[in-house]
């Protein structure tokens, strides 16, 4: 098992290697002032590393929070200088574990955002919270700063499953966190759940989902139910390769997937995206910006932005992030700068859009992508439509319910069709 100390050592080594190699960053695209729909902020600290996780986060390192906040402040200032002061509809603070910051640090983070962002248009402000790091003082800070949505990583309500995932919380932390949030007056609450955990059964999944639906305030407003994915470079995958457990079989995973859909539908939630369920009106607007070609700024290490047709990603390494954003002569730590061709971007947009239950509306698509998707989609989806997996109307293309479980197969034909 890799320990936090191992991770940190590795991290430092990589950073040294990179800085020895004289890593250089991409310049921000010269777009002039750019209107954005959203801002994402990445907080790269966690108490321990969950075994399935491939987000960029460090276990521990809390002594670097101040330096991180200094850097974040400079990054925000650089971007405001470059693109103008953003006036987004949504903000999402993710990680990592933003709630690992203590109330004072959180307060400072909020102050930085208020300094750099025009909040006048804001209608959704989400912070990710891990059940065991969320408490009343933090909730008060967030509420006071205008946060109106909490996304809580519950993952499972079965202790042994949390252990398999190496989550460091107890199932009972989740109801507590919900009560704290509701008590603080934060209305819009999401839980994340994971299915397909080794050892999971249909019964245990039914139990977890039922517990989630019984959370304070008549249950969550939104649920994200992801399947466990064995990403390379995760401890989970290493354990799998060592034969420490067997992944659950395909039939069971399908049954779990179908159960979510039915159970949540019966409880009044709509599946509006492959993995996302919401009460009417409670869809995550921030994510919808991602999926429907919106524009967003992204701050913090590893955060990925999309502005004026350009995509880039910040360096996935706190040391480099801090080095780039030193007080003297700070620079934006952007890497992987790419500008997609219209066609490539259209393929990407269509893929994400078709994952939405509402389907892809040709007129709306045209407005965003600048080209007509209808002839293209009718060509590549014709076979699938004949088989009943896709519905094609003169105004829209939409994956049918039964197509969701095989959506990748269909979307591979869409991604390069334009």
């Amino acid at each position: 098992m890799t320990t936090a100390a191992d991770e940190n050592r590795l991290e430092r080594r990589l950073a040294q290697a990179d800085s020895a190699a004289g890593i250089s960053f991409a310049a921000l695209p010269k777009t002039g002032p750019a209107p954005v729909d959203a801002v994402y902020v990445h907080v790269p600290f966690c108490s321990t590393k969950c075994h399935y996780c491939d987000f960029y986060s460090l276990a521990g390192h809390l002594d670097e929070v101040d330096a991180y906040l200094d850097a974040l402040k400079r990054e925000a200032a650089l971007q405001v200088h470059h693109f103008g002061r953003p006036r987004p509809e949504t903000i999402f603070i993710g990680g990592g574990t933003p709630t690992l910051l203590n109330p004072a640090e959180l307060e400072r983070l909020m102050a930085i955002l208020h300094e750099s962002i025009d909040m006048s248009r804001l209608n959704e402000f989400t912070v990710e919270a891990n059940p065991n790091t969320f408490d009343a003082p933090r909730a008060r800070v967030l509420k006071a700063a205008g946060v109106n949505r909490i996304s809580c990583g519950a993952q499972s309500f079965v202790k042994s499953e949390l252990q398999t995932l190496q989550r460091d919380h107890d199932p009972e932390n989740v109801p507590l966190a919900f009560e704290i949030a509701r008590a603080a007056g934060i209305e819009n609450l999401n839980v994340d759940l994971i299915f397909g955990i080794p050892g999971q059964t249909l019964e245990s999944w039914v139990y977890s989902l039922d517990r989630a639906l019984a959370l304070a305030g008549g249950g969550p407003d939104h649920l994200s139910c992801y399947s466990l994915i064995y990403e390379s470079n995760t401890a989970m995958t290493a354990r799998l390769n060592r034969g420490e457990f067997t992944p659950i079989d395909e039939d069971l995973e399908l049954a779990l997937f179908e159960h979510v859909y039915r159970r949540l539908r019966d409880a009044g939630y709509q599946r509006y995206e492959v993995s996302n369920y919401a009460r009417p009106g409670r869809e995550c607007r921030h994510n919808l910006h991602y999926w429907k070609g919106g524009q967003w700024l992204a701050w913090g290490p590893s955060a990925a932005a999309h502005v004026a047709g350009w995509r880039w990603k910040n360096v996935t390494n706190l040391t480099h992030y801090l080095a780039a954003l030193q007080e003297k002569d700070p620079q934006v730590p952007a890497t992987q700068m790419e500008r997609l061709s219209t066609r490539r971007r259209a393929g990407e947009l269509a893929v994400f859009w078709l994952r939405l239950a509402e389907g892809l509306n040709y007129a709306e698509f045209h407005r965003i992508a600048g080209l007509d998707a209808r002839p293209v989609l009718e060509r590549v989806l014709k076979n699938y439509a004949e088989l009943g997996f896709v519905s094609l109307t003169p105004t829209a293309a939409r994956l049918e319910e039964k197509a969701v479980v095989v959506s990748n197969r269909i979307l591979t034909d869409v991604v390069d069709a334009f």
Binding site: E250, S275, Y290, G347, V405, V406, V415, D416
Partner: protein
């Protein structure tokens, strides 16, 4: 060239791996053509494929100088290293025609093997002076005297004439060089006669056009000279002449008996044919040289352009490659499933594989290949006899009188204790026993008459297995013979895939059919619907499998704003799909078109 230098032309021939290329290394080294520092093992195997596989694929000719230590006489030695594998026998045949002598190598631990015999007879037939050489005498298990006895017994070569050497350590190389100088005849032609130069190889160079490799039989090539290709009747002016020593070295002229290359700014590939004669355009020879007997292609398959390849690119690449390997053929072909491509003929399975790999490496061309087949002769009810090289060319059953298949004489050399196993193997493959001859008390040559189709695909592997690696095989074609042959069709989701049809012996149809269908089932990935795969003879379905419908392929994961990641994942998945061909609604991977190689036993 000064008159006091004598010329010796010879090739090195042997069974595969008996050490031809290693001997060439020693000859290059000992004559000072390359220094020890420049030397890397099997120096003349300069193709990557040759290095990787450790075998020679193409013959290479080099020129070296040698001074006889006793007489002080200077010699120019033109040596050709040849491949040992049976598929490349055509290379040997060409080399024999360019030489007066041959070094017949035999491994001192393995003794006479199938291609030792075949190559020895070929050299004798070509009237070459043979120097028998026993190689690898450095090995502890070497038994040079016994092997010399075998040479005498099987080939009628004087055991006492054998030169024992180690191509690895250099033992006996000096003696061998002396023997070459003393025993091999000088070339017969005259530099004063009208020019006749035999084209034995060529290659395409992007900058210099076609490079033509020749052996001058009569007359002299001179830089600047106007030459005529006698077969094509085209005229070119020589811009450069050279020799491989082994590095290319420019020369002013090449006289009778010598070997070298011509560069004449030839951009039209079709103007150069292997076996054609080059003559002087002002003072031409009366007759072209006899040239080469064209090789008989015995394995056929289709090449279609693969992912990111155009038909015309494939055609250009095939044309360029053919300059360097005249022993394969290609003709335009179309298929419902695979579109426009080429029907290609090869000398054997390894040859096919090599051509395909050379297209990929040297020309960056990816091909989809269908499963190989042997050619057949069909007789239709009106009595006409036609050669076909694909099952899809078979006439309608009502018009079909008989199907004849190619037969071979297989000479198999095995330890005597394996006679029983080998006989059983041959009988399973519809072989008819002819005779057995003892080479020594414990090794025999067994001869069988067998259908080529039963031998060409996996017989050799099976032979190696039952003889613990000791069995070797050579074969030659006898002709075509009628048998109970039927056409088997493969249907995927109800559609007949003509590129997968094949001709099989009636008694083997069921087992082959089952094996193929099973293989296809593994290759075809699950679709959103169930796919049936069937093998049928006429209207009778003999095997059936089903690929069940895909049930789950969904990414249910949080990517946050890192949209590109998901896109790249799908794009990668799509890359994989590009290696598929759409047949109706079914995507069939390229590899599946090889499924009919499954032997079914």
């Amino acid at each position: 060239m000064p008159d006091d230098i004598l010329i010796r032309n010879f090739c090195i021939i042997a069974h595969i791996d008996h050490g031809k290329s290693t001997l060439a290394d020693r000859l290059l080294e000992r004559t000072g053509a390359i220094t020890q520092r420049e030397m890397n093992a099997q120096f003349l195997d300069d193709m990557d494929l040759e290095k990787e596989r450790g075998i020679t694929i193409k013959a290479s000719a080099v020129t070296v100088s040698y001074t006889h230590p006793g007489t002080g006489q200077k010699y120019m030695l033109n040596l050709i290293d040849t491949p040992g594998h049976v598929d490349f026998h055509y290379e040997v045949a060409k080399a024999l025609q360019a030489c007066e002598g041959a070094l017949l190598l035999c491994d001192a631990t393995q003794g006479v093997q199938a291609q030792t015999v075949a190559n020895a007879y070929a050299a004798i037939d070509a009237d070459l002076e043979i120097i028998p050489v026993i190689n690898k005498v450095d090995l502890p298990s070497a038994r040079p005297d016994a092997v010399a006895e075998e040479m005498e017994q099987v080939l009628g070569i004087d055991a006492l004439a054998c030169v024992p050497i180690s191509a690895k350590t250099g033992i006996g190389i000096d003696e061998l060089l002396k023997a070459i100088a003393e025993k091999l005849p000088a070339p017969a032609g005259s530099s004063d006669a009208p020019l006749q130069a035999l084209i034995f190889d060529s290659k395409y160079d992007d900058y210099r056009g076609v490079v033509v490799y020749v052996r001058v039989i009569n007359g002299r090539l001179i830089r600047g000279q106007k030459i005529r290709m006698m077969g094509k009747n085209t005229i070119y002016a020589i811009t450069d002449l050279g020799k491989f020593m082994p590095k290319a070295k420019p020369v002013e002229s090449i006289g009778a008996g010598e070997v070298g290359f011509i560069i004449a700014n030839i951009k039209t590939i079709q103007d150069v044919t292997i076996g054609d004669t080059v003559t002087d355009s002002a003072a031409p020879a009366a007759e072209p040289l006899p040239g080469y007997r064209p090789p008989k292609q015995m394995v056929f398959c289709d090449f279609y352009p693969g992912a990111d390849t155009e038909y015309t690119q494939l055609r250009d690449a095939l044309e360029k490659l053919r300059l360097n390997d005249s022993s394969f053929t290609f003709e335009p072909e179309t298929s419902d499933a695979l579109g426009f491509g080429f029907r290609c003929g090869f000398l054997g399975l390894l040859h096919m594989e090599i051509v395909q790999e050379r297209l990929e490496r040297e020309h960056k061309i990816e091909v989809i290949q269908t499963a190989p087949t042997v050619p057949y002769e069909v007789v239709t009810s009106d009595g006409t006899v036609k050669m076909i090289d694909s099952a899809s060319e078979l006439p309608d059953p009502s018009a079909l009188l008989e199907i004849r298949e190619p037969m071979i004489r297989a000479s198999i050399i095995v330890p005597a204790k394996n006679i029983g196993d080998v006989s059983k193997l041959c009988q399973d493959r519809r072989g008819v026993y002819k005779k057995t001859e003892f080479i020594t008390t414990d090794r025999v040559i067994i001869e069988y008459e067998m259908p080529l189709a039963e031998v060409i695909f996996d017989f050799f592997d099976k032979l190696k297995t039952v003889t613990q690696g000791y069995g070797t095989l050579d074969y030659d074609l006898l002709g075509f013979k009628v048998d109970d042959l039927v056409k088997m069709d493969i249907l995927v989701a109800g559609d007949k895939i003509s590129a997968l049809s094949l001709i099989v012996h009636k008694t083997k149809a069921d087992s082959r059919g089952r094996a193929i269908i099973k293989k296809l089932k593994q290759e075809i990935s699950r679709h959103l619907f169930e796919i049936s795969i069937q093998a049928a003879v006429g209207s009778r379905v003999i095997a059936r499998e089903t690929v069940s419908a895909l049930r789950k392929d969904v990414t249910s994961k949080c990517y946050g704003g890192d949209i590109s990641r998901k896109r790249k994942l799908l794009e990668k998945q799509k890359e994989g799909k590009k290696r598929m061909k759409q047949v109706g609604r079914v995507e069939i991977p390229q590899k599946a078109f090889m499924a009919i190689l499954e032997p079914g036993d």
